[in-house]
Symmetry: C2
């Protein structure tokens, strides 16, 4: 672990200048402060605050809404804060962009704001900091992402494989044989995982794997509009969706086209957002216990801060059977 002396020696400046720069003192120039932060981050310097009032964690969010109870991230943030704040942490929520990540290395950002650890939500594989996480020594917990072999980084999420298997099993029991998938693009760790889980589950239940049963697209409404008719042309009788919001969009699309759910088509979401219990029909979906995910996220951070190298915590994704799935229509 690099010390303030190491940073001073490397830059050929005094320890007090390093210390002032790290503590954001006014008599250090901005450019000097930037050099110190970058060197400190590169050397793996970790700031240990003695003043408990300044114990700070951050939740870094991209590609995820979290401000109202019906939005996916809301309960995750809530569960995390409940646990962390009860133990005296200040928790700051930081929405991010890829552009910001490109300009500022992760280590510099964390030092600059005196965050001791972070909980990362909604990152895709294309986010620049995903590269930084491979070698970072800052305790970091990723929701629905995984970094191999770095003991400072942990993961929390739901078991996609089990979730998909339970969904396919349920449909099989209802007589479905041609089961499709409509998902976001595979530039995300978790969507890749769910895509492979879907293929594995079909194989496990001896069902046909056919790429014409699969529709991948970034924009929710647009890809629903494209793929619902395409999959129905292939005589698909049931569709799995990578997220509830996509399944809900499919309900609207089917309604517009006079396709009755579940009589003509069964659909299953993933997430169990609060509103899915109240749609017409109510949505069958794989539950992600989001409050629990937030709580586990904090538990994992706490373990990492105490030197216990948690790699992953996976929750079950039980199937909540509601009205959007029914017997397969006769051929």
């Amino acid at each position: 672990m690099a010390t303030i002396s190491d940073i001073a020696a490397k830059l050929g400046i005094s320890k007090s200048t390093v210390s002032k720069a790290l503590n954001n003192a006014t008599d250090v120039s901005t450019s000097m402060r930037q050099r110190v932060l970058e060197t400190a981050a590169e050397m793996g310097y970790i700031q240990r605050r003695i003043n408990k009032a300044e114990r700070k964690l951050c939740i870094l969010i991209e590609n995820m809404d979290y401000e109202t109870p019906n939005q996916f991230g809301y309960d995750i943030v809530k569960g995390f804060r409940q646990m962390a704040e009860a133990e005296g942490w200040i928790v700051e929520i930081v929405p991010l962009t890829k552009e910001f990540q490109k300009l500022t290395p992760y280590g510099v950002f964390m030092l600059d704001h005196s965050y001791q650890a972070s909980f990362v939500l909604g990152f895709s594989l294309l986010d620049p900091w995903m590269q930084d996480f491979k070698s970072s020594q800052i305790p970091t917990v990723l929701y629905d992402n995984y970094i191999k072999s770095n003991p400072y980084i942990a993961s929390v999420g739901c078991d996609s494989q089990e979730g998909m298997e339970l969904a396919v099993k349920h449909l099989t029991q209802l007589g479905h044989k041609r089961i499709g998938l409509i998902s976001g693009p595979l530039d995300s760790y978790i969507l890749k995982a769910r895509y492979h889980a879907y293929l594995n589950a079909l194989e496990k239940y001896g069902l046909e794997v056919n790429e014409d049963y699969i529709g991948l697209g970034y924009y929710v409404a647009e890809s629903t509009r494209t793929y619902i008719p395409k999959l129905l042309e292939q005589n698909v009788t049931a569709i799995l969706f990578s997220h509830d919001v996509r399944a809900l969009s499919a309900m609207t699309e089917c309604n517009d086209r006079g396709i009755q759910i579940p009589r003509d088509l069964s659909i299953i979401g993933f997430d169990d957002l609060p509103m899915t219990a109240y749609t017409t029909p109510p949505l069958t979906t794989s539950r992600q216990d989001r409050t629990g995910l937030g709580q586990c996220g904090y538990y994992a951070i706490n373990c990492l801060l105490n030197g216990l190298p948690i790699g992953s915590i996976l929750l079950r994704a039980p199937l909540i059977v509601r009205g959007s799935t029914g017997p397969a229509p006769e051929d």
Copy 2:
């Protein structure tokens, strides 16, 4: 969830008799008590104690020593008790046999002793209660075992895949090309997992997979004596062991045969038992943070008791490089 009334109705007896039987009252016959316990267990009845002084958990142990600090289970039990007892639980340690499990269903045993949850160590796939866990509704956490799709059962363990990959990577960097495995038999979930992890790791690093490089046997000393010469005949230059105790036994065997470690043969254990730092040479091994595993075991039980369906918690298994690995001998 079955209630006392449900049990009474099923057996055609009064609620008070059921209640007395469950509470071990003296005015209920042993045979009636047994019938009540069996029915209650079958129906998934869960006892909820109001009296906090009676909050009881158990650690069920088979095939694992835990009584002294150098034994594998010692720190796991310690880590678990530290957490559980701090939160007011009474923790009882129950060594088990397969014969006992055959005679008493898991649910009956738990009700009979008023245990609200259990932490299960050292079970093989042949243990009769492994079947009971598939449908049990009692919060249960398994170390190094996994039960699919039952949200009342969680798992904790170390990441065998990552551990084996790090070990094989280290040996590859030292120039080894023929890497063997000596392991216990594959009637255990975790030894199966490590066996496949070994095969995957060899494949990943483009090394030869050869069944003559593998030795599986129940008895440690006997299988070491058999397989060390067999693997050396195959010009294996490094051997991975499923447990430190097997690697230590190999050290003795090699010493007896005048084989020098690591000059003639590199060896790597799995576990990082305390004594492995002090052997001659000190053992390179994959670390299992056993105190942490016990702590995570309690965390998982606490989640299950609060209805959060944890599926698994995996710790990293970092490679601790010591003196038992060195450059591959020249061909």
